[in-house]
């Protein structure tokens, strides 16, 4: 009996040592739920084709919080989709600037978008683009003879027409219960103004350095205050939904697909939800930019990098990680990925049907005519998009007037550093 046990023990020890030596584990951490199954499929294929490497996907719903705990306790995934400026500053990511195989296949502007301003290097690679703007109901517009607005006055005029001619329809549906949505409005509209007037690069620098002369958040006639006043006016005139503070994105989808809302602001990620709720909407959804609302400005549209991957600077499996990413980035897989995600690929050699043809064409048109801006990645660490959104909630609840809002925003921004 003893002998058998000893043999078994020795055997298991050997096996575990062997497998430990043989298998390189690559941990892949993601917060993206929409593509989990697709990626698992790709991972399985890769694992099968590469004996000795085992890639494991970890999905966490609240990825950005979990990653902070992981960093804080020294455990870092090999590959991750979470990317924040503060992590870059702490040197958490591997320098990917010389992965020319990848950069050469991506659109040229992608390398710029992925560049960290402080060091001039790239610490992540993004495979897709995502856009955000106004989704509008083409049927309603056609019926009322409207065209998407390019200035704020036109925009208000459109909303007013809709309200007068179709009293049952909400002109602009804002789902203000979800703070991130309001935070996005801030990043697209007032920040959008800053980004176009200062230029993308200068604006990023101004934000990183908290250059208040350039940012001018608290000014009474600045981007923030005017935006706040515009919102308050819309609210007063009933041009947005009355229950803006309690409406959710589900409400918005439902209202839009049943023709009870004429337009709403969101990104491409919302498209699949709309089509799932009502497949007939496919040819009725239009896409428009955010109209210019400050003097001497132009309409903007969000065109930002999406689906980024970074490698940990302290990873012991860098080669395996890169091999996995190589496989993930091949044209076939990226086509599937684009179509699953519903956003266009940034790879020049990938041709995916990520949206209904007419819609995709209109999006392309908007991208060409409006100023392209990105997300505000240079927010202070202690003042997130959600925090900004909550300030807007306070605004809509009547806590602030426009000027008070601008001042409060500036204060919160400064304190966030």
């Amino acid at each position: 009996m003893k002998k058998v046990l000893a043999l078994l023990l020795a055997l298991t020890l050997c096996l575990s040592v062997l497998t430990a030596v043989a298998d390189t584990k690559v941990s892949f951490f993601t917060g993206k739920i929409e593509t989990i199954d697709l990626l698992n499929g790709i991972i399985d294929e890769f694992n099968a084709a590469n004996p000795g490497i085992v890639v494991e996907q970890e999905y966490q719903n609240d990825a950005s919080s979990v990653i902070k705990v992981k960093f804080a306790s020294g455990e870092v995934p090999d590959v991750m989709t979470t990317y924040e400026q503060e992590f870059v500053d702490q040197g958490k990511y591997l320098d990917l600037s010389d992965m020319s195989d990848w950069w050469s296949r991506l659109v040229p502007s992608m390398k710029d978008s992925c560049t960290d301003l402080k060091t001039g290097k790239q610490f992540r690679v993004c495979t897709n683009m995502t856009m955000a703007g106004f989704f509008y109901n083409k049927e309603i517009y056609a019926k009322l003879g409207l065209t998407p607005a390019t200035t704020w006055d036109e925009f208000v005029a459109n909303l007013t027409t809709i309200k007068q001619q179709m009293p049952d329809v909400t002109p602009w549906f804002i789902f203000g219960k979800e703070a991130w949505h309001l935070g996005h409005l801030i990043e697209f509209i007032p920040h959008g103004y800053l980004k176009q007037t200062l230029g993308a690069l200068e604006c990023k620098k101004a934000m990183l350095n908290n250059d208040s002369a350039k940012l001018n958040f608290g000014a009474a006639d600045g981007a923030m205050a005017v935006f706040a006043q515009n919102l308050l006016d819309l609210q007063k005139n009933g041009l947005i939904n009355e229950d803006v503070l309690t409406a959710t994105s589900d409400n918005c989808v439902e209202a839009f697909v049943t023709g009870k809302a004429a337009m709403f602001s969101n990104g491409m990620w919302a498209l699949s939800g709309l089509l799932e709720a009502n497949p007939d909407m496919a040819d009725k959804i239009g896409f428009a930019p955010y109209p210019a609302y400050m003097p001497n400005s132009k309409p903007v549209v969000l065109c930002a990098e999406d689906s980024g991957y970074s490698i940990s600077a302290t990873s012991s499996n860098v080669d395996a990680a890169k091999a996995f990413l190589n496989y993930l980035f091949n044209a076939d897989n990226q086509k599937k990925y684009s179509e699953a995600l519903g956003s266009p690929s940034a790879f020049t050699d990938v041709d995916a049907n990520w949206a209904p043809a007419a819609f995709a064409a209109e999006v392309k048109n908007v991208l060409n005519t409006a100023v392209n801006i990105g997300f505000t990645n240079e927010k202070p660490a202690g003042f997130s998009g959600d925090d900004a959104g909550r300030l807007v909630q306070d605004l809509l609840a009547g806590t602030y007037d426009a000027q008070g809002f601008a001042k409060a925003y500036e204060k919160a921004w400064n304190e966030g550093f």
Partner: protein, 276 residues
Amino acid sequence: MKEIWFFKTVRILLLMLICAMCIIPFYVLLVLSLNAPSRVFYEGNMFIPTFAWGNYADAWAKSKIGTAMINSAVITFGTLALTILFGGMAGYAIARRNTPMNKAIFSLLIGCMMIPGIINTVPLYTLMRQLGAINTLWGMVLVCSTLCLPSAVFIYTTFVRSLPRELDEAAEVDGCTGFKAFWRIIFPVLKPATASFVILNGFGVWNNYAQAVFFLQSREKQNIPQALSVFFQQFGGAKWHLMSATAVIAIVPVVVIFLVFQRQFIEGLTDGAVKG
């Protein structure tokens, strides 16, 4: 006689009202789970869903709820077993042998019950990492046991204190030593406390999300709330129909167990009335 009849009716009516109130969320959950995604909720009769049974198959596959349920079960069972044992022993010791050390232990545990969990997260995560306990079920059991322990000790101590000393004396007469006295004589009498503790904390462990997020990572080890979170999107609502189908799947075994073991629970709650 008339009076009693009147009160009884009022009582029953009140209880029926309360039951109705408690059932509504489940009814809603059920209806949601049987609606197709393209069903606009408020048109037509909203009390009757479209009976999209396919949601259940879909939800099962996408959320890996089967594995999650097993994980949750293992974690819950392990945690309860560990805390009942340690908590019961501690409650007995503290209530019956009120030494300064035991007094201190009691105060420590109760005091720590009031400390918000967040303080612990980062250092605990580091510790568990060093033990190799991250992403293991036994690691999660340890974490959850630690969280439930103060409550267990509190409940057991309070109940043991209310037990008459005759019990201990009876044990001594039979020649039982400390642990045996505890296990054979005292513990069975503690059934109300055990039942209360299980009912109170069991579900907390079953539904634990705050700790699971950090200590359970791979899909194979994730528990039920994590499996459910799969349907919450980052920028947008949830896939209601799938999420509620998953929730229903997860609730059914729990309710069944609750119903099946109800008698034990009831007996547990009613036992221990030691008549003088």
